[in-house]
């Protein structure tokens, strides 16, 4: 049986899937290290739980909504086409890579997007409600937006409006992943409200080595995210790889410089945040810009996000781990940056404003960013509000003070001392009974 399968590209796609999977634990540690010690387990559970729920939903119906034949207007794919991954298992002699690998790769994008949202409602969220939110949000928000921007028409297949009609550029998810998670993060943070003590206590990261572990794994995984999006082991993948590396580097340096000038010290938390800001911004643009362009994007993202994370104190929303300041803002920098810095040498035929290409592409990028923000924010706000009003999304105040780890999971993260070694208490029984027993 002759087959079009390219084993090298398949190897790279499988490797990229594994790398993107690792971003989930990476994010769990990145976020987990940032919260106070009484909330770290709940934070990690929100990420791990999102991974599990989103993947199941993705197999059942999410992939089909995103990549099934368009049902009309480029808005949503046919949910029945790949229902339960049906008809996808046998080797297709015309496929360059296995469709199952592609479907998993895309599913992991959904996982990361959902998991990112959790950062904005850290330390005060009911775990059960979060899992329900994760599943519903994948279907209602993520899958449609992924259809819009990632589903290219080909042959008989008709895809989404942003990719095929608007012709916005988004190589690896500036809209569907970054702006989307940022907008949704803002919405849920507004619905759940501020943590007790927000603005009065600094609520600093309880374990910066864990933040750095997370940052390292995220960066590593991001190469799968971006360079894997080339869907081939080729020259483009290599350029995308270089861009991803360089934007992370200059994002870090730029954030550190802002801190040094503004606060007097460059912090390790700033370094980790700057890396991620650079990576966020290069995500949409990595297939459109040169390595020099990538460095510029990183510098812009690092500096702008470093300033944007202070906004929540001024505007008074508790986006606890800066999903808005880093992912929404960084996603905008990258998505819009394409309009300025796209270079046709890298891929395709689009030059940005600074390469003499006019404002055309810039306009398309703005429309894509705006549409993503509006849809995501709106639907998420309603969804979160319904959950909060019905089954409750936020824990009780006393429970928040005692800590979500203890109350939601009956655990504490660390027991490092010899005396109590292994015998530190947790509390069995349902939420709310905690203080009676304590």
């Amino acid at each position: 049986m002759t087959s079009a399968l390219d084993s090298g590209s398949t190897a790279w796609l499988l490797t990229s899937c594994a790398l993107v999977l690792l971003m989930a634990p990476g994010l769990a540690f990145f976020y987990g290290g940032m919260v106070r010690s009484k909330s770290v387990l709940n934070m990690m559970m929100m990420v791990f739980g999102a991974l599990a729920v989103v993947m199941v939903v993705w197999v059942v119906v999410g992939f089909s909504i995103a990549f099934g034949d368009d049902l009309g207007g480029g808005l949503v794919g046919d949910p029945s086409q790949y229902f339960g991954f049906k008809d996808m298992l046998e080797a297709d002699p015309e496929a360059v890579y296995p469709i199952t690998a592609f479907a998993i790769f895309q599913g992991l994008f959904a996982v990361i997007t959902v998991a990112l949202i959790a950062g904005s409602i850290a330390e005060r969220t009911k775990f059960g409600t979060w899992l329900i939110f994760a599943g519903l949000w994948t279907v209602l928000v993520y899958a449609p937006i992924a259809h819009w921007i990632f589903d290219f028409s080909a042959g008989d297949h008709v895809g989404g409006w942003m990719a095929n009609n608007l012709k916005a550029l988004d190589f690896a998810g500036g809209t569907a992943v970054e702006i989307n998670s940022g907008a949704a993060g803002l919405a849920v943070a507004l619905v759940l409200g501020k943590r007790i003590g927000f603005g009065r206590e600094p609520m600093k990261p309880h374990n910066l080595t864990l933040v750095m572990v997370g940052c390292g794994l995220l960066w590593f995984g991001w190469f799968g995210f971006n360079a894997g999006s080339a869907l081939a082991a080729n020259n483009l993948a290599a350029v995308v790889f270089a861009n991803t590396l360089l934007a992370g580097c200059t994002g870090m340096l730029s954030w550190l410089l802002v801190e040094r000038l503004r606060d007097g010290h460059a912090t390790s938390f700033g370094a980790a945040s700057g890396v991620v800001a650079g990576l966020v911004a290069i995500t949409p643009s990595c297939g459109s810009v040169t390595p020099i362009g990538a460095m510029v994007i990183g510098v812009a993202a690092g500096a702008i996000c470093a300033m944007a994370v202070g906004l929540k104190y001024k505007l008074g929303y508790d986006d606890s781990l800066d999903v808005v300041g880093v992912h929404l803002v960084g996603g905008l920098v990258g998505t819009i940056g394409i309009g300025f810095l796209a270079c046709a040498t890298v891929q395709g035929s689009i030059d940005g404003l600074l390469y003499g290409g006019g404002t055309d592409q810039l306009g398309r990028q703005l429309v894509a960013a705006g549409a993503t923000f509006a849809f995501s924010f709106g639907v998420t706000y309603v969804l979160a509000l319904v959950l909060e009003k019905t089954i409750g999304f936020r824990v009780e105040g006393d429970d928040e003070m005692a800590g979500v780890d203890l109350v939601e999971h009956a655990e504490t993260a660390y027991d490092l001392t010899p005396t109590t070694g292994g015998a530190r208490p947790h509390i069995a029984g349902g939420t709310g009974t905690l203080l009676d027993k304590d």
């Binding site: 003590g197 109590t420 015998a423 208490p425 947790h426 509390i427 069995a428 203080l435 009676d436 304590d438």
Partner: protein, 112 residues
Amino acid sequence: MKLVTAVVKPHKWEEVRAALEGVGVTGMTVSEVSGYGRQKGHTEVYRGAEYDISLVPKVRIEIVVEDADVDQVVDTVVQAAQTGRIGDGKVWVSSVESVVRVRTGDQNEAAI
């Protein structure tokens, strides 16, 4: 002068601190401890097995105060830390013979 030692529930620390600030206490020393008391005997289920738990986390606060302020300080702590449930903690008072402020060498009342 007296030394007031209070052992309270960790999530009450912030309230106790604020209440003490309210009655003019300007200094104290705080540490993380484990308490053993009536709370013991509670059992918990862990991976399907049941256990008695003996130690629970507490916060220990030491405050050196002038003789005249002792009662107010003790009352303030008790009120702020009280939840009415087992494990609320203890406060005890002992006598202090002298106090020095390291920075200046000031002694006794002047050092508090």
